[in-house]
């Protein structure tokens, strides 16, 4: 038998797709502030930097990273501050359409994610979960961090 681990996920929606990240590596969920300071010459998906309790946090737009074209904003948009390496330096905000819910599940429930097209920038997922006929793709945070770093 494989080792079965309890996992806690935070799911969010980007247009018609649902994704999730490891909830234990989420530091904050924020409303999108009015004043995101744009960083000149940064990649397109970097929305800018924000001030979070006296620290500078870069914000990346997940919609662009996921290869979506329509990126109109509305008031449900949120920023999830993730911390992949558990240190100040690795904190980054990801902007999503809407934050959904916290999901408790087991690692044995995960299925391999089917990667077809080359639309988005993300290269690897930790797996896919099927809940109520809905697929939830779990994002590999380290891969995401690497992409933003590039």
């Amino acid at each position: 038998m494989e080792d079965v681990q309890e996992i806690t996920l935070l799911s969010f929606q980007i247009q018609e797709d649902t994704f999730a990240v490891n909830a234990l590596k989420v530091d904050h969920i924020l409303e999108v502030p009015e004043n995101i300071t744009p960083v000149p010459n940064a990649p397109e998906f970097i929305k800018g930097i924000i001030n979070l309790h006296g620290n500078i946090i870069p914000v990346a737009d997940m919609r662009i990273i996921m290869g979506k074209e329509d990126i109109t904003s509305n008031q449900d948009n949120s920023i999830i501050v993730i911390n992949p390496a558990n240190n100040q330096d690795s904190r980054v905000g990801i902007m999503v359409d809407i934050v959904k819910e916290v999901i408790e599940t087991k690692s044995s429930e995960l299925k391999e994610t089917v990667l077809d097209g080359k639309k988005g920038l993300i290269e690897s997922f930790e797996g896919t979960l099927l809940i109520n006929d809905e697929f939830i793709h779990i994002i590999d945070m380290n891969n995401l961090a690497e992409i933003i770093e590039k």
Binding site: N35, T37, V39, P40, I46, N51, G54, I56, I148
Partner: protein
């Protein structure tokens, strides 16, 4: 729990090793300095003891052999030679390794370890066979030891805290008794009445009369681990064994009965000694003890992350305080205004204090440099005097951390390429011994570090030819001396033809410059052929707070460090339009300029007056055009983090009083990018 103690031991051992290295360097210059030998011996002794206590058995065993050598040295059985010092240096390296890795498990390493111990042992056996040679030199001292036993009076007055470290004073007494014939007297008159007694405290003190043929050092060693926790005085009272004399027994009886401490004078009738010289020594001993005590409370050890945290908190306070003053200005309540002013004053003091705490003396790194110079010069057969001035200068620890590698590289260059071999130096009329001067000093808000050697200097023509052959410059280019030296900083340029083990491994001055630039410093070179080379590093005092000029470019605010700014010019737009090649004429000088709006992709708005901030870097002035200048601003610079490190022109961001962000411009990087044409002017 034990891990914590272990970590502490490792930390303390590193200090001990540093002390050891320092003493060795001094000893090398003054081979017979008793005090230094004593210091070395003590450091080794603590290493050995601590090592055994915390399970570093190999360390303890190894240090034991090393300690034995220095025990012979301090007892004049062995002379200090430069070979011995070299051996000790490599032994210290081995000890460092043992501390880092703990006990060895790798067989290969273990073999090396054992061989090293044999080498240490051979020092002793070699010297034993040649002892007769030394004995003539040291006959005086050896005679002393061979002579009859002596009687000492030992005053051992421990502090009340003695027991808290797990020391059992009775074991110490046992050790003393093992040295010879001894009579100890315990005094209990300080023991308080029962209700006042603290069961963890020690209230006893002892006097011991010891007759031994061992040296005074041997007696002192018994107390080596408790010397900070007690008052210790050892006096010679007689040149012979007086313990069995009836007068002596009488004196002891009296002391035991009356709880009155023995004095040296009590024994005057029994001894044939002139007390004068002994008193002198014990006085000195006392002084030493007090010196140690004072030193102990004058500094405490704090984990560096705690200091980082303090600095971060203070930085946040400064930010909040700025918000408060902004609020108090708009809200004309006089109470708030005065409160805000007081808080401003306090937070400024607190900030200065916190930053002062995070400064550490350069000294801590100098040991590595000394080692490098010593080891490399020996390897290469060069004779080099390494002179340090201003080693006590203090710098932000984050700066020092980033300074070590570049400085090591510069020193390597000086030894490898700069200082000539002794014969070469003599033939060019210099003293055979080369000098490398390391000098650190304050200059305004900067710290300057100069490394100069009196070696052969750099051949400008050679550098030029080399640059031409590498197609870095055009053959017909006319270059000033300074421009030629600047070529050294161009990536991929290295002047040494053969790649040596030391420097020239493809890492050149370009890396040095880049690393120094990372901590907002500048590097420059001065050289004179045949006379030597000086490398100057100019550094800011601290990394995290700077005085900046707040400017606006497009919708964003940016901070330009004031230290980089020469002045600000207001230009007529026509002045720019007339210029071609991005040069503006000011005071009949042609000044290149950079338009920050283009660099940051901001829309170009027409202004009636153009604000140009003049930036000074490496003796050159460059204009930087901004939309508007807002004013001076004290800035807490926060890093942009790993995700934005590609944004090299921006060295960080700062939080303004109203909570918005402004990005800090790295001027030297901006100018560098301009040179490499990545940035359009």
């Amino acid at each position: 729990m034990l891990d914590k103690f272990k970590a502490k031991f490792v930390e303390e051992s590193m200090d001990n090793l540093q002390d050891l290295e320092e003493s060795l360097f001094l000893l090398e210059k003054d081979l017979e300095n008793k005090e230094l030998i004593e210091r070395i011996f003590r450091a080794m002794h603590s290493l050995k003891g601590g090592g055994a206590m915390f399970g570093f058995n190999h360390l303890s065993d190894f240090t034991h052999h090393l300690e034995t050598i220095f025990d012979w040295v301090r007892n004049n059985k062995l002379a200090v030679t430069s070979d011995l010092i070299t051996l000790t240096f490599s032994a210290i390296d081995h000890i460092k390794n043992l501390i880092k890795t703990g006990d060895l498990t790798d067989e290969q390493e273990l073999k090396g370890h054992n061989q090293f111990i044999l080498r240490l042992q051979s020092v002793l056996s070699d010297s034993a066979s040649t002892l007769s040679v030394h004995s003539t030199v040291d006959s005086q001292n050896i005679n002393d030891e061979i002579s009859e036993s002596k009687t000492y009076l030992i005053n051992f007055i421990p502090q009340e805290e003695l027991l808290q470290n797990g020391t059992n004073p009775l074991y110490l007494l046992d050790d003393i008794h093992a040295l010879g014939e001894a009579i100890s007297i315990a005094y209990t008159h300080k023991v308080p009445s029962l209700e006042l007694i603290d069961i963890t405290a020690n209230y006893c003190l002892w006097q011991i009369l010891l007759n031994t043929s061992e040296s005074l050092n041997e007696i002192k060693d018994v107390f080596i681990f408790v010397e900070d926790e007690c008052e210790l005085q050892i006096d010679l009272i007689a040149d012979s064994n007086i313990l069995q004399k009836p007068e002596c027994i009488e004196i002891i009886k009296k002391a035991r009965k009356g709880n009155s401490l023995l004095k040296i004078e009590d024994f005057q009738s029994l001894s044939q000694l002139k007390p004068s010289s002994q008193e002198l020594e014990s006085g000195e001993e006392k002084k030493k003890i007090t010196a140690i005590k004072e030193h102990k409370i004058s500094s405490i050890r704090v984990a560096s992350h705690k200091i980082d945290e303090l600095v971060t908190l203070v930085s946040e306070l400064v930010t909040i305080q700025a918000q408060l003053s902004l609020y108090s200005e708009s809200n004309e309540d006089p109470v708030i205004v005065s409160l805000s002013e007081n808080i401003q004053k306090l937070s400024r003091q607190l900030r200065e204090n916190a930053f002062d705490i995070s400064l550490i003396p350069l000294q801590s790194e100098l040991m590595r440099f000394q080692r490098l110079v010593r080891d490399l010069s020996k390897d290469q057969g060069k004779d080099i005097d390494f002179v340090i001035e201003g080693g006590d200068l203090e710098l932000d620890k984050n700066i020092i951390e980033h300074l070590t590698d570049p400085l090591l590289h510069i020193l390597r260059n000086s030894i490898d390429h700069g200082i000539e071999l002794p014969e070469e130096r003599i033939s060019s009329g210099k003293s055979p011994k080369g000098t490398i001067l390391f000098k650190a000093f304050h200059s305004g808000a900067n710290v300057i570090i100069e490394v100069s050697d009196d070696g052969k200097g750099m051949d400008l023509e050679y550098i030029r030819q080399k640059a031409i052959s590498k197609e870095i410059v055009d053959q017909n280019a006319v270059l000033t001396d300074k421009e030629v030296l600047d070529l050294l900083f161009v990536s991929g340029f290295s002047t040494k033809d053969a790649v040596s083990d030391v420097s020239g491994r493809g890492v050149g001055m370009d890396v040095v410059r880049r690393k120094i630039a990372n901590i907002r410093g500048e590097v420059s070179i001065d050289t004179e052929k045949g006379k030597g080379t000086t490398i100057t590093i100019r550094l800011p005092l601290t990394l995290s707070i700077i005085d900046g000029l707040l400017v606006k470019v497009g919708a964003n605010q940016y901070v330009i460090p004031i230290s980089a700014i020469d002045k600000i010019h207001a230009l007529d737009p026509s002045q720019l339009k007339k210029s071609f090649n991005n040069v503006v004429v000011l005071d009949k000088e042609q000044i290149p300029y950079i338009d920050l709006r283009k660099v940051f992709n901001a829309p170009e708005v027409e202004h009636d007056v153009i604000q140009m901030v003049m930036i000074k870097a490496e003796d050159r002035i460059t204009g930087v055009i901004v939309d508007s200048v807002i004013g001076e601003y004290q800035t807490v610079v926060k890093p942009l983090g790993r995700y934005l490190k590609k944004q090299e022109i921006l060295s960080g961001a700062t939080i303004m009083g109203d909570g918005t962000l402004a990005m800090v411009v790295d001027t030297s990087r901006l100018l560098m990018e301009r040179k490499s044409k990545k940035v359009a002017g």
